[in-house]
Amino acid sequence: MRWNRYVQNFRQRRALVLSNDIRATETIAAMVTRLGMALEQLSPMDDELRTLLDNADGQRDVMFVDGDLNLFPDMSHGTSGELLHIPVVGLVGIEAPSRLRTLMLFGATAFLSKPVHSGSIFSALYLAINTFEQKADLRSSIRELEHRRRYRRHVIKAVTMVMTSHSLDDEGAFALLRKESMRARLSLEAYCEGVVQRSTAQTIDDKEPDKKQAVAD
């Protein structure tokens, strides 16, 4: 598994701060400016909040959300998956499990206790941004593996076809398919799918199935 290298410098990112705690906002504003980040203070009353959050970019933005705001109360129950697709730091005032759960639903991967101490902001950002990236990496590798799993039956079919057409054992057939897929610059799964499809098409056309040709294509 190839992991992204950790992000260690947050310059040129944008910090979105959603809180009505003035002290916390001030501390965060001073610190993120020192870290070379742009700052945008959001208001929970703002109608454009949703649009802004939908347009946020996970590679550029990071959000500080105050758990003590009663945000989107209708969404805090029964929803699965996360509301935001950007790194989130949760600001924790009341440590009730329901509040923490809401922050988790927002996608918080780091917490800062209120009153916010400027010395812990860098660590929280580091954790939030890098955990967010790791989660995204994991999701994409799961997607990739699921995709490959769905193509498994094509691989099995293609192996058995090549075994009969080339009089090879399973190891030999697999090795041949792998070599040909590399030559075609395709993944093994995609190549096998092509082999199987070509063979079925030829059968339907009621021609003599030339499996050797299919493999060599």
Binding site: R5, Q8, N9, R34, L35, S118, G119
Partner: protein, 362 residues
């Protein structure tokens, strides 16, 4: 450091026109980490609002909670590894971009790109070597070896041997105290035994080597070492010559002021100027006046940066001489803004691992 601070106090108190009298109170926890916080607590209870001091990063970390709780201000004059900005500290020493970046530039331009890192096994050396590796990668250099010794360890033979094995262009040293002195002596002796001119073939570059430390190394291995610092006693300006003369007059046993003495001296003057401008010793007022405070220090003009409360300083690189002083071989020529989080110099992502990502498949 204490001498520098004392000298500044005496000068301020002798100057009747200055408008402020400082009443110095001294405490020496003697390097015992557990003694720092109680010592500061006692000083603050006794009415002290401003403290100039702390050398090691670990001692600073010990006392910061006390300063924050009691609303007092620490004036920290030492060069350090960065990545901190407490609201109750004014950092008048060098930030990592003041010492590390000029040194990496100088070394890769004039000496070579293959570096061997040695250090004492604690945060200063780890963080220095991390920053060094990042900067080297940006300049197509590489770290060919890395060795750490416990703080205070003086058996350096294994390190010397691994340097010969790795055959680097330059050795980067972040050993501290006795370990460093032993290393300089042993490395020079080992090179002589092999007929190698150590200062030419394997120069040693450090960010924590000052004049008093050269004396501790001893005459056999004193010359030819590179040091990155914002101050050397040999800087040839009127301000510095006056400072060196008054320092020698005040402390006849000392040969020359160190970078630490100069930093503590400047910190004390900046504190006095801020107190004078504020007209009170409360934290908020003094901190407001400290922002943008200027002083023509022995090293040149210095200014406190209001955004980070770190200080703009002039980086320099010195090459040590037989007489225990440095020749300045590089001078930035003007003060450089502090960058404690290295936001303007390091890459967004950490340096790639040394292992290769490709492997051979059949």
């Amino acid at each position: 450091m204490l001498n520098g601070a004392k000298l500044a106090c005496e000068q301020i108190n002798a100057d009747t026109g200055f408008g402020v009298r400082l009443n110095p109170v001294e405490r020496d926890p003697g390097g015992d980490l557990n003694a720092y916080a109680p010592a500061v607590e006692k000083m603050i209870v006794d009415g002290v609002k401003h403290v100039v001091g702390c050398y090691t990063s670990s001692s600073r970390k010990e006392v910061i909670p006390t300063f924050e709780k009691r609303d007092a201000l620490l004036w920290y004059p030492t060069h350090y590894e960065g990545f901190e900005s407490s609201a109750n500290v004014i950092y008048t020493g060098a930030a990592p971009n003041h010492h590390m970046l000029p040194l990496v530039d100088y070394v890769t331009r004039h000496i070579g790109r293959r570096v061997f890192c040695i250090g004492s096994n604690y945060i200063w050396a780890w963080e220095s070597n991390r920053v060094l590796r990042e900067e080297l990668v940006l300049r197509q250099g590489s770290v060919v070896g890395e060795r750490y010794l416990p703080v205070g360890e003086t058996d350096v033979d294994c390190i010397v041997q691994s340097i010969f094995d790795a055959n680097p262009d330059v050795v980067f040293n972040s050993l501290i105290g006795e370990s460093a002195y032993s290393f300089f002596r042993a490395f020079r002796a080992a090179c002589q035994a092999r007929g190698i001119d150590q200062a030419k073939r394997y120069p040693v570059a450090s960010c924590n080597l000052s004049e008093p430390e050269l004396d501790r190394i001893g005459p056999d291995a004193i010359d030819g070492h590179l040091s990155s610092s914002v101050y050397f006693a040999s800087i040839n300006t009127v301000e510095n010559r006056t400072f060196v003369d008054s320092y020698r007059a005040a402390f006849p046993d000392e040969k020359a002021p160190s970078a630490e003495a100069e930093a503590a001296y400047s910190a004390m003057i900046l504190l006095a100027q801020s107190l004078r401008d504020a007209g009170t010793d409360t934290l908020r007022a003094v901190k407001t006046c400290a922002a943008n405070q200027r002083f023509s220090a022995p090293q040149g003009e210095i200014t406190i940066d209001p955004a980070t409360f770190h200080t703009c300083l002039t980086p320099r690189i010195g090459l040590s001489r037989r007489d225990g002083q440095f020749d300045v071989v590089f001078d930035a020529g003007r003060p450089v803004a502090p960058d404690p989080y290295l936001i303007n110099s390091t890459a967004i992502r950490e340096a790639p691992p040394r292992r290769t990502a490709l492997r051979i498949v059949s």
